[in-house]
């Protein structure tokens, strides 16, 4: 399993993501945003951080980096892409995923462990999880307020593209940032591009407070 992790100026989760996938036994490589070669990966991860300082709008400048053209073509060919946090923002800005991420409702950065409910496990990413399962995964973002219009939301629902929602320990909806329907993660219609605001790569070891991220990322290995 070969994982390509992108690095933009301002990316800050590339090494965490590399460490997490290496823990799962994957070959990893970090690819600079000015490159044109994804180096034939099985999975491309757009990691978290503050690409271009989140100036203008989170993810809005990174989408124009040369490597994103390759990511678009890779995704069109059915290649698997995962965007985490700022990576999710970059993927929506690139129109590889529907919707947009707005400033959190309370206007503050939010960093904490949060519970997520698995809404759909019939996809590569969450196949090791059970539908309805509650996972404990860190969130850390200022712009995590997922927005999509009525029509888009209807399509997400109809195609089972809503993968994860924010909840409490018992699985009841608990919305930290104002996201539509408390959405934390989605996929595209073809189910090969995935995006989520929470950080599964930060939940790989009990010593850090949770290992629930393992069964999420392991989905890509199966």
């Amino acid at each position: 399993m070969k994982v390509t992790i992108l690095r933009f100026p301002g990316t800050n989760c590339e090494f965490d993501t590399e460490y997490a996938f290496q823990k799962l036994g994957c070959d990893t490589q970090i690819v600079w945003h000015k490159e044109h070669d994804l180096q034939s990966p099985d999975l491309v991860v757009v990691p978290g951080g503050f690409s271009y300082g989140d100036y203008l709008r989170s993810g809005s400048i990174a989408r124009f980096s040369p490597i994103m053209k390759e990511v678009g073509e890779f995704a069109d060919r059915g290649g698997k892409v995962l965007g985490i946090c700022n990576g999710f923002q970059i993927l929506t800005e690139s129109h590889l995923l529907p919707g947009a991420l707005k400033r959190n409702e309370n206007l503050h950065f939010i960093s904490k462990h949060h519970r997520l409910k698995v809404e759909n496990s019939d996809n590569t990413f969450l196949q090791k999880c059970e539908k309805g399962e509650v996972l404990n995964i860190p969130v850390a973002h200022a712009d995590g307020n997922y927005y999509i219009d009525e029509q888009g939301l209807k399509e997400l629902r109809e195609n089972d593209q809503i993968l994860l929602t924010y909840c409490d320990e018992n699985g009841n909806t608990l919305n930290p940032n104002g996201s539509v329907e408390a959405i934390a993660g989605i996929c595209n219609k073809n189910r090969n591009v995935f995006g989520l605001m929470p950080h599964p790569e930060r939940a790989m070891e009990e010593v850090l407070g949770s290992a629930d991220g393992i069964k999420m990322l392991e989905g890509f290995l199966a």
């Binding site: 100026p9 301002g10 300082g53 989140d54 950065f109 939010i110 850390a140 070891e205 010593v207």
Partner: protein, 735 residues
């Protein structure tokens, strides 16, 4: 070029007549304006430590594990397996009061540069914040709450973007900070112990290279500004506050770390206070070199800037480096990859002089050594403060008695006690995936070290009330308390960095506080074998003649041999036993109890028993290694009742504790050298405590839906509501 209005110029640069005479004798002629600017910056309190040097010289700075002590950009200690921890704490008090967001943000930016300029990747931040009375109903309270919101937003804005987790710290409030808040930022980085970089410029002909952001006019004269007290007019100082750009600093961090993988670098230093002046003089000074710089080659943000402005600008996100001759292009290529400016601006010489040129013409020439060596060292007068004899007479028994339950209710809702998630949730505390004990978990914060499987514990502490009523013991306690917090996580305390925040040094009573507090720190560091490896002094924290309480913040760093044995500070297992270690007296001097219930910061402090303190650390560290502890927490402000309540609120587990006390109020007493531990192995723990000669008392077992401590109690849910909601309600009341 003769300066006409020399008196005005000297005054504007805060140089005395005597200092001016000294400058003339150093130069052998009249200085020009650029040179006056240089001397003014280098001899400012901020850069020269002229009031404090006398007292800092006595600090213990050596131990077998110390790789680099004070005098460099940051201190360095050995943490085994070829790894080193690089850390320092710095203040950004004056700017943060004037402009909270940018003041705090650039404080974080500055301390991060101090760490990565040493070759270390910053892996953890802490901050220690002191604000005034946020509960005030009028304008003071409104402004203070605005400052809290701005400072927190600024720290988060910078640290989060840098990808460095902010894993803990402390926040407290007192009227003495109404006119001067304190923002102290700590950062710790990791490096290989044989790959540390230093701020030196040596090797004749080696190029001096400027990297990072362009230079603008921002922060002009910031070091001089920070070396004075505030008056009513101080709000007009806003233009002296720098503006931060964390994205550029992130690029600078990555570019520097990439550069450090090559062997091109001779030395490197960040441009902090007094910008290009202090970085160039300090680098040349450490190596006994001279230097030539062509100021017209410095990348400029705006046109029409003068040599004076280039030398004194405090634009952020800049570094000066000395490289091996011939490596210039490769270095420039690395910075260009990261979209940063890099320019060869000068070279190292053997003249011992700093020679500055402007379009080929010499615009200043100053001998390097005398600027630092002949920087004034003052022996300012000291006088025991008049207030001390008055407040020492305080007698709790002469005051009207307050029912214990009423006292308890007041204390658990004190802003000093309640959870600060409103603050720390705004900081990314988990990036880099090392945070083993993060914010809000009480006592020390801990990261594991991926490279060697160990864990680093750190804690910043200061009790300003103690330092006010007894600066010497209060100063010593900052070391003791931060060390105790570190030990409670199972780590061995190793070394400290300090950030000494005081009032106006020209006031002999303030200078006396400074002398005593540094004496206390020195004693504690010696007794506890935790040397000082870096630090910072912030004076003139005074407004309209009122100085802040002496606030020598100390951050202790300790090492735990096993990342899997980090001890929590809250209840873990229902049914487990709780023990109190240490004896409880009636110690209320400077206590939270007096402050919250009587509005007083008075009384006296008992002596510190270092042997007992060390035995306490040893007991917890060894018992944790042996696997017989579930949790440990030190007892400090608010006494054992407050400590148990915090442990309960965080864990969601109750407790019914019975403690033997002489007076029923002693459950709030702040007697030193005490802790609470949780264990499932009473016999093994009791044996260990006996072996070390420590008094212990079994006070109860974990469990239940309420918290009771002797005669006070509260429903667990009610306690949690207060604990988790109170701070936000206060801080957001104006929104």
């Amino acid at each position: 070029m003769e300066i006409e209005n020399i008196q005005e110029v000297l005054q504007a640069h805060k140089l005395s007549e005597a200092e001016y005479e000294n400058i003339k004798s150093i130069l052998g002629r009249e200085p020009n304006l650029v040179e006056i600017g240089i001397f003014s910056a280098m001899w400012s309190e901020h850069c020269s430590y002229k009031s404090s040097t006398k007292y800092l010289r006595g600090f213990p700075t050596k131990a077998p594990w110390v790789i680099q002590g004070p005098g460099e950009n940051a201190g360095v200690i050995d943490i085994g397996d070829g790894m080193a921890a690089v850390f320092k704490m710095e203040s950004h008090n004056h700017p943060s009061y004037i402009e909270p967001y940018q003041g705090a943000a650039t404080g974080v930016g500055g301390i991060l540069r101090d760490i990565f300029t040493m070759g270390a990747r910053p892996v953890a931040n802490l901050n220690a914040l002191r604000f005034g009375n946020v509960l005030d109903k009028e304008s003071i309270g409104r402004y203070q709450r605005h400052l809290v919101r701005g400072v927190v937003e600024g720290i988060g804005g910078y640290g989060n973007c840098m990808g460095v987790p902010t894993i803990g710290g402390e926040t407290s409030f007192d009227e003495c900070y109404n006119g001067n808040i304190l923002v102290n930022a700590f950062s710790l980085g990791l490096a290989k112990s044989d790959e540390i970089f230093y701020g030196k410029a040596e090797g004749i002909g080696n190029p001096v290279i400027y990297v990072g952001s362009k230079t603008g006019r921002d922060g002009l004269g910031g070091a001089v500004m920070s070396s004075d007290s505030f008056t009513e007019e101080s709000k007009s100082l806003r233009p002296t506050v720098q503006v931060g750009d964390p994205f550029t600093e992130k690029l600078l961090l990555e570019a520097c770390l990439e550069l450090f993988q090559t062997d091109h670098v001779v030395g490197i230093q960040d441009m902090g206070a007094a910008g290009l002046t202090s970085s160039s003089f300090e680098m040349a000074g450490r190596s006994g070199s001279g230097m030539i710089m062509h100021l017209d080659k410095v990348p400029a943000r705006e046109e029409g800037m003068t040599p004076y402005e280039f030398m004194l600008s405090e634009s952020q996100e800049r570094m000066l480096l000395c490289a091996k001759k011939g490596s210039e292009q490769e270095i420039i290529d690395i910075f260009e990859k990261w979209d940063l400016d890099a320019a060869v601006v000068g070279e190292v010489t053997d003249t011992g002089n700093m020679e500055l040129f402007w379009h080929g013409e010499k615009c200043a020439e100053v001998p390097v050594d005398p600027v630092s060596e002949e920087a004034p060292v003052l022996d300012r007068p000291t006088r025991e403060p008049a207030y001390l004899s008055r407040i020492a007479k305080f007698d709790l028994n002469a005051e009207e008695k307050i029912a214990n339950q009423d006292a308890y209710n007041k204390l658990i809702s004190s802003l000093e006690v309640v959870d600060k998630a409103w603050i720390y949730d705004q900081y990314d505390s988990m990036v880099q995936t090392n945070t083993a004990k993060g914010p809000g978990t009480l006592d020390a914060s801990v990261i594991r070290v991926k490279e060697n499987g160990k864990a680093l514990a750190m804690s910043s502490d200061c009790n300003p009330r103690y330092c006010y009523i007894n600066p010497e013991i209060g100063g010593a306690l900052t070391v003791v308390e931060s060390g105790r917090n570190v030990a409670m996580s199972g780590a061995q305390p190793l070394a400290i960095t300090d950030c000494l925040n005081f009032g106006n040094p020209e006031n002999p009573e303030v200078m006396w506080q400074f002398a005593k507090a540094t004496d206390g720190i020195k004693q504690a560091c010696e007794k506890l074998s935790t040397p000082v490896v870096s630090g910072n002094v912030s004076l003139y924290n005074e407004t309209d003649g009122i100085s802040v309480f002496p606030t020598p913040t100390v951050a202790m760093v300790g090492l735990n041999d096993d990342e899997h044995k980090v001890l929590p500070s809250s209840f873990q297992n229902e049914g487990a036993s709780l023990y109190l270690i240490g004896e409880t007296g009636s110690d209320f001097g400077g206590s939270l109890y007096l402050k919250e219930l009587y509005g007083k910061t008075e009384g006296t402090l008992p002596e510190i028993d270092y042997e007992k303190e060390l035995a306490l650390w040893k007991l917890v560290i060894e018992a944790n290694k042996a696997g017989i502890l579930n949790a440990a927490k030190d007892i400090n402000v608010g006494g054992i009742a407050v400590a148990l309540s915090k442990m309960a609120a965080i864990s969601g587990k109750g407790i019914d504790a019975k403690i033997s006390v002489g007076d029923e109020r002693d459950i709030f007493s702040e007697t030193f050298s005490r802790a609470i531990v949780e264990t499932n192995d009473d016999a093994a723990f009791e044996a260990k405590a006996k072996e070390l000669g420590l008094a212990i008392e079994k006070i109860g077992t974990v469990g239940g839906e309420s918290v009771s401590v002797n005669d006070v109690s509260i429903d667990l849910g009610e306690l949690q509501t207060i604990y988790y909601n109170r701070f936000k309600a206060v801080i957001e009341q104006d929104l």
